[in-house]
Amino acid sequence: MLRVEASTRLGAFALDVALEVPAGCCLALAGPSGAGKSSVLRVVAGLVTPESGRVSCGEAVWLDTARRVDLAPERRRCGYVFQEYALFPHLRAWQNVAYPLRELRGRDRRRRALELLERFEVAHLADARPRTLSGGERQRVALARALARRPDALLLDEPLSALDARTRASAGRELAAVLREAGVPALLVTHDFVEAALLGDRVGVIDGGRLVQQGTAAELAASPASAFVADFTGAVVLTGTARPGADGLTHVTLDGGGHVASTGSGEGLVAVSVHPWEIAMEPAGTPSAGSAQNRLDVEIVSVTAIGNRVRLGLAAPQPFVAEITEASARAMKLSPGVRAVATWKAASTRVLER
Protein backbone atom coordinates (compact mmCIF):
# COMPACT_ATOMS: atom_id res chain seq x y z
CA MET A 1 0.00 0.00 0.00
CA LEU A 2 1.35 3.36 -1.05
CA ARG A 3 0.07 6.23 1.09
CA VAL A 4 0.65 9.82 0.08
CA GLU A 5 -0.29 13.04 1.83
CA ALA A 6 1.26 16.25 0.67
CA SER A 7 0.58 19.91 0.71
CA THR A 8 2.91 22.52 -0.61
CA ARG A 9 2.95 25.74 -2.58
CA LEU A 10 3.70 25.21 -6.24
CA GLY A 11 4.12 28.42 -8.17
CA ALA A 12 0.65 29.77 -8.87
CA PHE A 13 -1.33 27.26 -6.84
CA ALA A 14 -1.13 24.98 -3.84
CA LEU A 15 -0.81 21.23 -4.10
CA ASP A 16 -2.91 19.45 -1.52
CA VAL A 17 -3.58 15.76 -2.01
CA ALA A 18 -4.09 12.60 0.01
CA LEU A 19 -4.33 9.24 -1.65
CA GLU A 20 -3.80 5.52 -1.15
CA VAL A 21 -2.91 2.88 -3.70
CA PRO A 22 -3.12 -0.80 -2.68
CA ALA A 23 -0.49 -3.25 -3.98
CA GLY A 24 -1.32 -4.54 -7.43
CA CYS A 25 -3.59 -1.58 -8.07
CA CYS A 26 -3.09 1.30 -10.43
CA LEU A 27 -4.43 4.71 -9.54
CA ALA A 28 -4.53 6.97 -12.56
CA LEU A 29 -4.35 10.66 -11.74
CA ALA A 30 -6.01 12.52 -14.56
CA GLY A 31 -6.31 16.24 -15.06
CA PRO A 32 -5.46 19.09 -17.39
CA SER A 33 -1.82 20.02 -17.84
CA GLY A 34 -0.52 22.22 -15.07
CA ALA A 35 -2.93 20.71 -12.53
CA GLY A 36 -0.08 19.40 -10.38
CA LYS A 37 -0.25 15.76 -11.42
CA SER A 38 3.46 15.34 -12.07
CA SER A 39 4.25 17.11 -8.81
CA VAL A 40 2.52 14.30 -6.93
CA LEU A 41 4.87 11.80 -8.60
CA ARG A 42 7.88 13.99 -7.82
CA VAL A 43 6.85 14.17 -4.17
CA VAL A 44 6.54 10.38 -3.98
CA ALA A 45 9.91 9.86 -5.68
CA GLY A 46 11.60 12.40 -3.43
CA LEU A 47 12.59 14.72 -6.26
CA VAL A 48 10.75 17.53 -4.52
CA THR A 49 10.04 17.92 -0.80
CA PRO A 50 6.62 19.30 0.11
CA GLU A 51 6.18 21.80 2.92
CA SER A 52 4.28 19.20 4.83
CA GLY A 53 3.42 15.64 4.02
CA ARG A 54 3.88 11.97 4.59
CA VAL A 55 4.72 9.24 2.09
CA SER A 56 4.91 5.60 3.03
CA CYS A 57 5.16 2.45 0.98
CA GLY A 58 4.31 -0.73 2.85
CA GLU A 59 6.19 -0.54 6.15
CA ALA A 60 8.75 1.94 4.88
CA VAL A 61 8.28 5.62 5.61
CA TRP A 62 9.85 7.67 2.82
CA LEU A 63 8.79 11.08 3.98
CA ASP A 64 7.36 12.45 7.19
CA THR A 65 7.87 16.16 7.51
CA ALA A 66 6.50 16.11 11.06
CA ARG A 67 9.26 13.70 12.12
CA ARG A 68 11.86 15.18 9.80
CA VAL A 69 12.13 12.00 7.75
CA ASP A 70 13.00 12.67 4.12
CA LEU A 71 14.73 9.83 2.30
CA ALA A 72 16.84 10.74 -0.73
CA PRO A 73 15.35 9.61 -4.06
CA GLU A 74 17.96 6.86 -4.43
CA ARG A 75 16.86 5.32 -1.13
CA ARG A 76 13.17 5.14 -2.06
CA ARG A 77 12.50 2.04 -4.01
CA CYS A 78 10.29 3.37 -6.73
CA GLY A 79 10.48 2.85 -10.44
CA TYR A 80 9.82 6.09 -12.29
CA VAL A 81 8.93 6.15 -15.97
CA PHE A 82 9.37 9.71 -17.19
CA GLN A 83 7.21 11.37 -19.80
CA GLU A 84 9.82 11.35 -22.56
CA TYR A 85 11.36 8.26 -20.94
CA ALA A 86 14.61 10.06 -19.99
CA LEU A 87 16.87 7.32 -21.31
CA PHE A 88 20.53 8.21 -20.86
CA PRO A 89 21.71 9.26 -24.33
CA HIS A 90 25.34 8.26 -23.78
CA LEU A 91 24.50 4.67 -22.87
CA ARG A 92 23.28 1.81 -25.02
CA ALA A 93 19.86 0.32 -24.34
CA TRP A 94 21.25 -2.53 -22.24
CA GLN A 95 23.49 -0.15 -20.29
CA ASN A 96 20.47 1.98 -19.50
CA VAL A 97 18.72 -1.07 -18.07
CA ALA A 98 21.90 -2.14 -16.26
CA TYR A 99 22.38 1.32 -14.73
CA PRO A 100 20.43 0.52 -11.53
CA LEU A 101 21.92 -3.00 -11.28
CA ARG A 102 25.00 -1.90 -9.38
CA GLU A 103 25.30 -5.02 -7.25
CA LEU A 104 25.95 -7.10 -10.36
CA ARG A 105 29.29 -7.13 -12.15
CA GLY A 106 30.47 -7.69 -15.68
CA ARG A 107 28.75 -10.51 -17.50
CA ASP A 108 26.00 -11.01 -14.89
CA ARG A 109 25.05 -7.39 -15.24
CA ARG A 110 24.64 -7.60 -18.98
CA ARG A 111 22.83 -10.94 -18.74
CA ARG A 112 20.29 -9.55 -16.29
CA ALA A 113 19.76 -6.45 -18.45
CA LEU A 114 19.19 -8.65 -21.48
CA GLU A 115 16.65 -10.74 -19.54
CA LEU A 116 14.72 -7.60 -18.72
CA LEU A 117 14.87 -6.37 -22.31
CA GLU A 118 13.77 -9.83 -23.44
CA ARG A 119 10.70 -9.54 -21.26
CA PHE A 120 9.71 -6.44 -23.20
CA GLU A 121 10.68 -8.07 -26.52
CA VAL A 122 13.45 -5.56 -27.26
CA ALA A 123 16.51 -7.71 -26.52
CA HIS A 124 17.57 -7.32 -30.15
CA LEU A 125 17.98 -3.58 -29.52
CA ALA A 126 20.35 -4.09 -26.58
CA ASP A 127 23.27 -2.36 -28.29
CA ALA A 128 21.29 0.49 -29.80
CA ARG A 129 21.58 4.09 -28.63
CA PRO A 130 18.35 5.66 -27.36
CA ARG A 131 18.27 8.29 -30.12
CA THR A 132 17.97 5.55 -32.74
CA LEU A 133 14.94 3.95 -31.05
CA SER A 134 11.30 4.63 -31.86
CA GLY A 135 8.94 5.96 -29.21
CA GLY A 136 7.49 2.53 -28.52
CA GLU A 137 10.93 0.96 -28.21
CA ARG A 138 12.07 3.70 -25.85
CA GLN A 139 9.04 3.09 -23.68
CA ARG A 140 9.89 -0.61 -23.41
CA VAL A 141 13.50 0.11 -22.51
CA ALA A 142 12.35 2.69 -19.94
CA LEU A 143 9.94 0.19 -18.39
CA ALA A 144 12.63 -2.48 -18.26
CA ARG A 145 14.96 0.02 -16.59
CA ALA A 146 12.34 1.15 -14.07
CA LEU A 147 11.57 -2.46 -13.11
CA ALA A 148 15.22 -3.56 -12.94
CA ARG A 149 15.55 -2.66 -9.28
CA ARG A 150 12.35 -4.52 -8.37
CA PRO A 151 10.70 -1.33 -7.14
CA ASP A 152 8.17 -1.25 -4.32
CA ALA A 153 6.07 1.26 -6.23
CA LEU A 154 5.78 2.32 -9.84
CA LEU A 155 5.35 5.91 -10.98
CA LEU A 156 4.40 6.64 -14.57
CA ASP A 157 4.25 10.14 -16.02
CA GLU A 158 2.14 10.31 -19.20
CA PRO A 159 3.50 6.93 -20.28
CA LEU A 160 1.68 6.91 -23.61
CA SER A 161 1.73 10.55 -24.65
CA ALA A 162 5.09 10.38 -26.41
CA LEU A 163 3.78 7.64 -28.71
CA ASP A 164 1.99 8.01 -32.01
CA ALA A 165 -1.66 6.99 -32.18
CA ARG A 166 -0.97 3.60 -33.75
CA THR A 167 1.59 2.49 -31.18
CA ARG A 168 -0.46 3.89 -28.31
CA ALA A 169 -3.15 1.21 -28.36
CA SER A 170 -0.77 -1.75 -28.22
CA ALA A 171 1.60 0.01 -25.80
CA GLY A 172 -1.34 0.75 -23.52
CA ARG A 173 -2.45 -2.89 -23.58
CA GLU A 174 1.08 -4.07 -22.74
CA LEU A 175 1.45 -1.48 -20.04
CA ALA A 176 -1.77 -2.60 -18.37
CA ALA A 177 -0.42 -6.18 -18.35
CA VAL A 178 2.92 -5.04 -16.91
CA LEU A 179 1.16 -3.13 -14.13
CA ARG A 180 -0.94 -6.17 -13.21
CA GLU A 181 2.10 -8.44 -13.26
CA ALA A 182 4.34 -6.12 -11.21
CA GLY A 183 2.00 -6.49 -8.24
CA VAL A 184 3.11 -3.21 -6.64
CA PRO A 185 1.15 0.00 -6.16
CA ALA A 186 1.26 2.03 -9.34
CA LEU A 187 0.58 5.72 -9.64
CA LEU A 188 0.01 6.94 -13.17
CA VAL A 189 -0.48 10.45 -14.43
CA THR A 190 -2.26 11.39 -17.63
CA HIS A 191 -4.13 14.32 -19.15
CA ASP A 192 -6.41 11.94 -21.05
CA PHE A 193 -9.40 10.51 -19.23
CA VAL A 194 -9.81 7.64 -21.69
CA GLU A 195 -6.20 6.62 -21.05
CA ALA A 196 -6.80 6.87 -17.31
CA ALA A 197 -9.94 4.72 -17.62
CA LEU A 198 -8.11 2.04 -19.64
CA LEU A 199 -4.97 1.86 -17.46
CA GLY A 200 -6.18 2.72 -13.98
CA ASP A 201 -8.15 0.46 -11.69
CA ARG A 202 -9.25 3.68 -10.11
CA VAL A 203 -9.13 7.20 -11.42
CA GLY A 204 -8.48 10.37 -9.47
CA VAL A 205 -9.34 13.65 -11.12
CA ILE A 206 -6.89 16.37 -10.14
CA ASP A 207 -7.43 20.05 -10.77
CA GLY A 208 -5.65 23.10 -9.41
CA GLY A 209 -3.48 20.91 -7.17
CA ARG A 210 -6.44 19.18 -5.54
CA LEU A 211 -7.82 15.70 -5.92
CA VAL A 212 -11.35 16.64 -6.93
CA GLN A 213 -12.86 13.17 -7.08
CA GLN A 214 -11.73 9.56 -6.91
CA GLY A 215 -13.43 6.35 -8.01
CA THR A 216 -13.68 3.88 -10.83
CA ALA A 217 -13.88 5.48 -14.25
CA ALA A 218 -17.53 4.44 -14.50
CA GLU A 219 -18.36 5.98 -11.13
CA LEU A 220 -16.72 9.25 -12.06
CA ALA A 221 -18.51 9.42 -15.37
CA ALA A 222 -21.85 8.44 -13.89
CA SER A 223 -21.88 10.86 -10.99
CA PRO A 224 -19.30 13.58 -11.45
CA ALA A 225 -18.84 15.69 -8.34
CA SER A 226 -18.49 18.89 -10.33
CA ALA A 227 -18.93 20.35 -13.78
CA PHE A 228 -15.18 20.13 -14.16
CA VAL A 229 -15.19 16.38 -13.60
CA ALA A 230 -18.20 16.06 -15.90
CA ASP A 231 -16.44 17.89 -18.71
CA PHE A 232 -13.16 16.15 -18.08
CA THR A 233 -14.57 12.63 -17.98
CA GLY A 234 -16.12 13.51 -21.34
CA ALA A 235 -16.56 10.57 -23.60
CA VAL A 236 -18.34 7.35 -22.72
CA VAL A 237 -16.04 4.38 -23.18
CA LEU A 238 -17.37 0.86 -23.74
CA THR A 239 -15.20 -2.16 -24.45
CA GLY A 240 -15.95 -4.95 -26.88
CA THR A 241 -14.83 -6.95 -29.88
CA ALA A 242 -15.07 -5.46 -33.36
CA ARG A 243 -15.51 -6.99 -36.79
CA PRO A 244 -16.15 -5.28 -40.10
CA GLY A 245 -19.76 -5.65 -41.26
CA ALA A 246 -21.14 -6.20 -44.77
CA ASP A 247 -22.73 -2.73 -44.61
CA GLY A 248 -19.32 -1.03 -44.43
CA LEU A 249 -19.74 -0.25 -40.74
CA THR A 250 -17.73 -1.69 -37.88
CA HIS A 251 -19.86 -3.87 -35.63
CA VAL A 252 -18.84 -4.18 -32.03
CA THR A 253 -20.14 -6.80 -29.64
CA LEU A 254 -19.88 -5.23 -26.22
CA ASP A 255 -18.31 -7.13 -23.33
CA GLY A 256 -21.22 -8.29 -21.17
CA GLY A 257 -23.77 -7.98 -23.97
CA GLY A 258 -25.17 -5.45 -26.36
CA HIS A 259 -24.16 -4.38 -29.83
CA VAL A 260 -22.95 -1.11 -31.30
CA ALA A 261 -22.18 0.01 -34.84
CA SER A 262 -19.63 2.62 -35.81
CA THR A 263 -18.49 4.38 -38.95
CA GLY A 264 -14.95 4.18 -37.54
CA SER A 265 -12.73 1.22 -38.32
CA GLY A 266 -11.15 -1.35 -36.08
CA GLU A 267 -10.91 -5.05 -35.52
CA GLY A 268 -10.45 -7.33 -32.53
CA LEU A 269 -10.38 -5.91 -29.01
CA VAL A 270 -11.57 -2.32 -29.09
CA ALA A 271 -13.06 0.45 -27.03
CA VAL A 272 -15.87 2.47 -28.53
CA SER A 273 -16.42 5.99 -27.38
CA VAL A 274 -19.22 8.47 -27.76
CA HIS A 275 -19.81 11.87 -26.19
CA PRO A 276 -22.57 11.79 -23.56
CA TRP A 277 -24.34 14.68 -25.26
CA GLU A 278 -24.62 12.68 -28.47
CA ILE A 279 -26.83 10.15 -26.70
CA ALA A 280 -30.60 10.63 -26.82
CA MET A 281 -33.11 8.94 -24.52
CA GLU A 282 -36.34 7.26 -25.58
CA PRO A 283 -38.99 5.66 -23.43
CA ALA A 284 -38.57 1.88 -22.99
CA GLY A 285 -40.39 -0.28 -25.49
CA THR A 286 -40.57 2.30 -28.31
CA PRO A 287 -39.79 0.72 -31.67
CA SER A 288 -36.72 1.81 -33.59
CA ALA A 289 -37.38 4.97 -35.56
CA GLY A 290 -35.15 7.66 -37.03
CA SER A 291 -31.54 7.38 -38.13
CA ALA A 292 -29.83 6.31 -34.93
CA GLN A 293 -28.36 2.81 -35.40
CA ASN A 294 -27.31 2.20 -31.84
CA ARG A 295 -29.92 1.32 -29.21
CA LEU A 296 -29.19 -0.03 -25.76
CA ASP A 297 -31.75 -0.89 -23.09
CA VAL A 298 -30.72 0.80 -19.87
CA GLU A 299 -31.87 1.50 -16.36
CA ILE A 300 -31.34 4.95 -14.94
CA VAL A 301 -29.27 4.83 -11.74
CA SER A 302 -28.48 8.47 -11.12
CA VAL A 303 -29.54 11.92 -12.26
CA THR A 304 -26.97 14.66 -11.66
CA ALA A 305 -27.63 18.27 -12.57
CA ILE A 306 -24.67 20.03 -14.25
CA GLY A 307 -25.64 23.60 -15.04
CA ASN A 308 -28.47 23.65 -17.55
CA ARG A 309 -28.21 19.93 -18.34
CA VAL A 310 -28.43 16.70 -16.42
CA ARG A 311 -26.12 13.73 -16.59
CA LEU A 312 -27.83 10.38 -16.40
CA GLY A 313 -25.93 7.45 -14.93
CA LEU A 314 -27.09 4.43 -16.91
CA ALA A 315 -26.91 0.76 -15.90
CA ALA A 316 -26.40 -1.63 -18.78
CA PRO A 317 -23.97 -4.56 -18.96
CA GLN A 318 -21.35 -1.80 -18.96
CA PRO A 319 -22.34 1.37 -17.13
CA PHE A 320 -22.20 4.62 -19.10
CA VAL A 321 -23.68 8.10 -19.09
CA ALA A 322 -25.81 10.38 -21.22
CA GLU A 323 -26.42 14.10 -21.03
CA ILE A 324 -29.73 15.71 -21.92
CA THR A 325 -31.42 18.99 -21.08
CA GLU A 326 -33.15 19.31 -17.78
CA ALA A 327 -36.45 20.00 -19.56
CA SER A 328 -36.31 16.70 -21.49
CA ALA A 329 -35.44 14.76 -18.36
CA ARG A 330 -38.45 16.28 -16.59
CA ALA A 331 -40.76 15.70 -19.55
CA MET A 332 -39.73 12.04 -19.74
CA LYS A 333 -39.94 11.67 -15.95
CA LEU A 334 -36.45 10.17 -15.88
CA SER A 335 -35.42 9.25 -12.35
CA PRO A 336 -33.42 6.43 -10.77
CA GLY A 337 -35.06 3.05 -11.38
CA VAL A 338 -36.79 4.08 -14.63
CA ARG A 339 -36.03 1.90 -17.67
CA ALA A 340 -35.36 3.56 -21.01
CA VAL A 341 -33.55 3.20 -24.32
CA ALA A 342 -30.34 5.09 -25.08
CA THR A 343 -29.78 5.77 -28.76
CA TRP A 344 -27.04 7.38 -30.80
CA LYS A 345 -25.74 7.44 -34.34
CA ALA A 346 -23.05 5.12 -35.66
CA ALA A 347 -21.44 8.26 -37.08
CA SER A 348 -20.88 9.68 -33.56
CA THR A 349 -19.18 6.50 -32.40
CA ARG A 350 -15.38 6.31 -32.37
CA VAL A 351 -13.54 2.99 -32.36
CA LEU A 352 -10.20 2.77 -30.51
CA GLU A 353 -8.11 -0.36 -30.59
CA ARG A 354 -6.98 -1.51 -27.19
Binding site: L47, P73, E74, Q83, H90, Y99, A148
Partner: protein
Protein backbone atom coordinates in the same frame (compact mmCIF):
# COMPACT_ATOMS: atom_id res chain seq x y z
CA UNK B 1 30.73 37.22 -49.44
CA UNK B 2 33.18 40.08 -49.61
CA UNK B 3 32.84 40.73 -45.91
CA UNK B 4 33.50 37.11 -45.10
CA UNK B 5 36.57 37.12 -47.32
CA UNK B 6 37.84 40.26 -45.60
CA UNK B 7 37.33 38.74 -42.18
CA UNK B 8 39.04 35.54 -43.20
CA UNK B 9 42.01 37.35 -44.74
CA UNK B 10 42.49 39.71 -41.86
CA UNK B 11 42.33 36.98 -39.25
CA UNK B 12 44.50 34.40 -40.98
CA UNK B 13 47.11 36.63 -42.62
CA UNK B 14 49.30 37.13 -39.51
CA UNK B 15 49.25 33.40 -38.84
CA UNK B 16 50.13 32.62 -42.43
CA UNK B 17 52.90 35.22 -42.29
CA UNK B 18 54.52 33.51 -39.33
CA UNK B 19 54.89 30.30 -41.26
CA UNK B 20 55.87 31.96 -44.52
CA UNK B 21 58.66 33.94 -42.84
CA UNK B 22 60.22 30.95 -41.14
CA UNK B 23 61.48 28.09 -43.23
CA UNK B 24 61.19 24.63 -41.69
CA UNK B 25 64.95 24.42 -41.31
CA UNK B 26 65.18 27.72 -39.47
CA UNK B 27 62.37 26.60 -37.29
CA UNK B 28 64.12 23.41 -36.29
CA UNK B 29 67.42 25.19 -35.81
CA UNK B 30 66.03 27.83 -33.51
CA UNK B 31 64.16 25.20 -31.54
CA UNK B 32 67.43 23.48 -30.75
CA UNK B 33 68.44 26.48 -28.72
CA UNK B 34 68.09 25.73 -25.03
CA UNK B 35 65.91 28.69 -24.23
CA UNK B 36 63.24 27.81 -26.76
CA UNK B 37 62.84 24.21 -25.68
CA UNK B 38 62.84 25.20 -22.03
CA UNK B 39 60.16 27.82 -22.63
CA UNK B 40 58.09 25.30 -24.55
CA UNK B 41 58.42 22.68 -21.82
CA UNK B 42 57.50 25.24 -19.16
CA UNK B 43 54.46 26.42 -21.13
CA UNK B 44 53.15 22.93 -21.67
CA UNK B 45 53.75 21.72 -18.11
CA UNK B 46 52.42 24.84 -16.37
CA UNK B 47 49.32 25.11 -18.56
CA UNK B 48 48.62 21.38 -18.15
CA UNK B 49 48.81 21.66 -14.35
CA UNK B 50 46.64 24.79 -14.39
CA UNK B 51 44.06 23.07 -16.60
CA UNK B 52 44.12 20.01 -14.34
CA UNK B 53 43.36 22.18 -11.31
CA UNK B 54 40.65 24.09 -13.20
CA UNK B 55 38.91 20.93 -14.40
CA UNK B 56 39.09 19.13 -11.05
CA UNK B 57 37.75 22.02 -9.00
CA UNK B 58 35.79 23.82 -11.69
CA UNK B 59 33.66 20.95 -12.96
CA UNK B 60 31.80 20.28 -9.69
CA UNK B 61 31.58 24.02 -9.06
CA UNK B 62 30.05 24.63 -12.47
CA UNK B 63 27.62 21.75 -11.88
CA UNK B 64 26.46 23.24 -8.59
CA UNK B 65 26.04 26.64 -10.22
CA UNK B 66 23.98 25.10 -13.00
CA UNK B 67 21.76 22.86 -10.91
CA UNK B 68 21.27 24.68 -7.61
CA UNK B 69 19.07 27.68 -7.06
CA UNK B 70 20.25 29.80 -4.16
CA UNK B 71 20.21 33.42 -3.10
CA UNK B 72 22.95 35.46 -4.64
CA UNK B 73 23.55 32.93 -7.41
CA UNK B 74 23.50 35.64 -10.09
CA UNK B 75 26.11 37.60 -8.14
CA UNK B 76 28.33 34.54 -7.84
CA UNK B 77 28.08 33.91 -11.58
CA UNK B 78 29.01 37.52 -12.35
CA UNK B 79 31.95 37.51 -9.93
CA UNK B 80 33.31 34.38 -11.57
CA UNK B 81 33.06 36.01 -14.98
CA UNK B 82 34.89 39.19 -14.03
CA UNK B 83 38.39 37.82 -14.80
CA UNK B 84 37.16 37.34 -18.38
CA UNK B 85 37.09 41.08 -18.95
CA UNK B 86 40.05 41.91 -16.73
CA UNK B 87 43.07 43.30 -18.66
CA UNK B 88 45.97 40.86 -18.07
CA UNK B 89 48.10 43.58 -16.51
CA UNK B 90 45.33 44.27 -14.02
CA UNK B 91 45.11 40.56 -13.29
CA UNK B 92 48.84 40.52 -12.56
CA UNK B 93 48.61 43.53 -10.23
CA UNK B 94 45.60 41.97 -8.55
CA UNK B 95 47.42 38.70 -7.97
CA UNK B 96 50.37 40.59 -6.48
CA UNK B 97 48.07 42.58 -4.24
CA UNK B 98 46.35 39.41 -3.08
CA UNK B 99 49.10 36.80 -2.96
CA UNK B 100 52.31 38.85 -3.16
CA UNK B 101 54.67 39.22 -0.16
CA UNK B 102 52.82 42.33 1.02
CA UNK B 103 49.47 41.18 -0.31
CA UNK B 104 46.24 40.34 1.47
CA UNK B 105 47.14 36.70 2.00
CA UNK B 106 50.87 37.26 1.66
CA UNK B 107 51.85 36.47 5.24
CA UNK B 108 49.59 33.42 5.31
CA UNK B 109 51.22 32.02 2.19
CA UNK B 110 54.63 32.90 3.51
CA UNK B 111 53.92 31.10 6.80
CA UNK B 112 52.88 28.03 4.89
CA UNK B 113 56.33 28.06 3.30
CA UNK B 114 55.00 28.59 -0.19
CA UNK B 115 56.70 30.95 -2.61
CA UNK B 116 54.63 32.14 -5.53
CA UNK B 117 56.07 35.39 -6.77
CA UNK B 118 58.83 34.89 -9.36
CA UNK B 119 58.49 31.08 -9.17
CA UNK B 120 57.08 28.39 -11.42
CA UNK B 121 54.22 27.93 -8.96
CA UNK B 122 53.40 31.58 -9.54
CA UNK B 123 53.12 30.91 -13.28
CA UNK B 124 50.61 28.18 -12.55
CA UNK B 125 48.62 30.51 -10.28
CA UNK B 126 48.53 33.21 -12.95
CA UNK B 127 47.49 30.78 -15.67
CA UNK B 128 44.80 29.28 -13.47
CA UNK B 129 43.43 32.70 -12.58
CA UNK B 130 43.09 33.99 -16.11
CA UNK B 131 41.86 30.83 -17.80
CA UNK B 132 39.51 29.34 -15.18
CA UNK B 133 36.54 31.57 -16.12
CA UNK B 134 36.70 30.34 -19.71
CA UNK B 135 36.19 26.77 -18.55
CA UNK B 136 33.68 27.60 -15.81
CA UNK B 137 31.41 29.57 -18.12
CA UNK B 138 31.37 26.90 -20.78
CA UNK B 139 30.94 24.07 -18.28
CA UNK B 140 28.10 25.86 -16.52
CA UNK B 141 26.16 26.38 -19.72
CA UNK B 142 26.84 22.78 -20.76
CA UNK B 143 25.35 21.54 -17.47
CA UNK B 144 22.44 23.97 -17.76
CA UNK B 145 21.60 22.61 -21.19
CA UNK B 146 21.24 19.07 -19.86
CA UNK B 147 17.79 17.51 -19.71
CA UNK B 148 17.08 17.61 -15.98
CA UNK B 149 14.99 14.45 -16.19
CA UNK B 150 18.21 12.50 -16.93
CA UNK B 151 19.51 13.58 -13.56
CA UNK B 152 16.17 12.86 -11.88
CA UNK B 153 15.98 9.46 -13.56
CA UNK B 154 19.45 8.61 -12.29
CA UNK B 155 18.43 9.42 -8.71
CA UNK B 156 15.26 7.31 -8.88
CA UNK B 157 17.40 4.46 -10.25
CA UNK B 158 19.37 4.35 -7.03
CA UNK B 159 22.30 6.61 -7.83
CA UNK B 160 23.41 9.19 -5.27
CA UNK B 161 24.00 12.76 -6.35
CA UNK B 162 27.79 12.38 -6.70
CA UNK B 163 27.30 9.24 -8.77
CA UNK B 164 24.71 11.00 -10.91
CA UNK B 165 27.24 13.78 -11.47
CA UNK B 166 29.96 11.34 -12.51
CA UNK B 167 27.93 8.80 -14.45
CA UNK B 168 25.30 10.97 -16.14
CA UNK B 169 26.04 14.70 -15.96
CA UNK B 170 29.71 14.61 -16.99
CA UNK B 171 29.34 12.24 -19.95
CA UNK B 172 26.23 13.94 -21.28
CA UNK B 173 27.76 17.39 -20.90
CA UNK B 174 31.02 16.05 -22.37
CA UNK B 175 31.20 18.07 -25.59
CA UNK B 176 30.55 21.34 -23.74
CA UNK B 177 33.12 20.50 -21.07
CA UNK B 178 35.73 19.63 -23.67
CA UNK B 179 35.23 22.82 -25.62
CA UNK B 180 35.52 24.75 -22.36
CA UNK B 181 38.74 22.91 -21.67
CA UNK B 182 40.08 23.80 -25.11
CA UNK B 183 39.22 27.48 -24.67
CA UNK B 184 40.84 27.61 -21.24
CA UNK B 185 43.93 25.76 -22.39
CA UNK B 186 44.31 28.03 -25.39
CA UNK B 187 44.05 31.03 -23.11
CA UNK B 188 46.60 29.56 -20.69
CA UNK B 189 49.13 28.82 -23.45
CA UNK B 190 48.92 32.39 -24.71
CA UNK B 191 48.96 34.05 -21.28
CA UNK B 192 51.44 36.91 -21.12
CA UNK B 193 50.62 39.93 -18.99
CA UNK B 194 49.59 38.38 -15.69
CA UNK B 195 52.46 35.90 -15.79
CA UNK B 196 54.99 38.64 -16.51
CA UNK B 197 53.79 40.82 -13.64
CA UNK B 198 53.21 38.10 -11.07
CA UNK B 199 55.90 35.54 -11.87
CA UNK B 200 58.38 37.54 -13.90
CA UNK B 201 60.32 36.32 -16.91
CA UNK B 202 63.21 34.10 -15.83
CA UNK B 203 64.53 31.67 -18.36
CA UNK B 204 63.81 28.13 -17.28
CA UNK B 205 61.77 29.16 -14.24
CA UNK B 206 58.92 31.42 -15.27
CA UNK B 207 59.63 32.21 -18.90
CA UNK B 208 56.81 30.61 -20.87
CA UNK B 209 56.72 30.72 -24.68
CA UNK B 210 54.90 34.09 -24.98
CA UNK B 211 57.41 35.68 -22.61
CA UNK B 212 60.31 34.15 -24.53
CA UNK B 213 58.91 35.49 -27.79
CA UNK B 214 58.64 38.94 -26.27
CA UNK B 215 62.20 38.81 -25.00
CA UNK B 216 63.59 37.52 -28.28
CA UNK B 217 61.84 39.70 -30.76
CA UNK B 218 64.04 42.79 -30.41
CA UNK B 219 67.31 40.84 -30.64
CA UNK B 220 66.49 37.71 -32.61
CA UNK B 221 63.41 38.25 -34.74
CA UNK B 222 63.81 34.93 -36.57
CA UNK B 223 64.01 33.06 -33.29
CA UNK B 224 60.91 34.80 -32.01
CA UNK B 225 59.13 33.98 -35.22
CA UNK B 226 60.09 30.33 -34.97
CA UNK B 227 58.89 30.13 -31.42
CA UNK B 228 55.63 31.79 -32.47
CA UNK B 229 55.19 29.21 -35.20
CA UNK B 230 55.65 26.44 -32.65
CA UNK B 231 53.13 28.03 -30.30
CA UNK B 232 50.60 28.34 -33.11
CA UNK B 233 51.18 24.73 -34.07
CA UNK B 234 50.81 23.47 -30.49
CA UNK B 235 47.64 25.53 -29.91
CA UNK B 236 46.10 24.47 -33.20
CA UNK B 237 46.95 20.82 -32.57
CA UNK B 238 45.35 21.11 -29.15
CA UNK B 239 42.21 22.72 -30.52
CA UNK B 240 41.97 20.19 -33.32
CA UNK B 241 42.44 17.12 -31.14
CA UNK B 242 39.93 18.44 -28.63
CA UNK B 243 37.41 19.04 -31.41
CA UNK B 244 37.96 15.55 -32.80
CA UNK B 245 37.59 14.04 -29.35
CA UNK B 246 34.46 16.11 -28.70
CA UNK B 247 32.91 14.97 -31.96
CA UNK B 248 33.67 11.32 -31.45
CA UNK B 249 30.96 8.74 -30.94
CA UNK B 250 31.50 8.15 -27.25
CA UNK B 251 31.05 11.79 -26.32
CA UNK B 252 29.60 14.30 -28.72
CA UNK B 253 27.80 11.85 -30.93
CA UNK B 254 26.10 10.20 -28.01
CA UNK B 255 24.73 13.25 -26.27
CA UNK B 256 22.12 14.14 -28.85
Amino acid sequence: MASLATVLCFLTLPIVAIFVDTGPLELLASLREDGALEALRLSVVCSAIAIGIIVLVGTPAAYLLATRRFRGRATVVTLIEIPLVLPPAVAGIGLLAALGPNGLLGSLIDDAGIELVLTTAGVIVALTFVSAPFFLRQAQSAFEALDRTWLDASRTLGASEPRTFLAVAIPTAGPGLISGLALAWGRALGEFGATLMFAGSFRGVTQTVPLAIYQDFSTDFTGALALSAVLVAVSAALLLSVKLLGGSEWLGGAAR
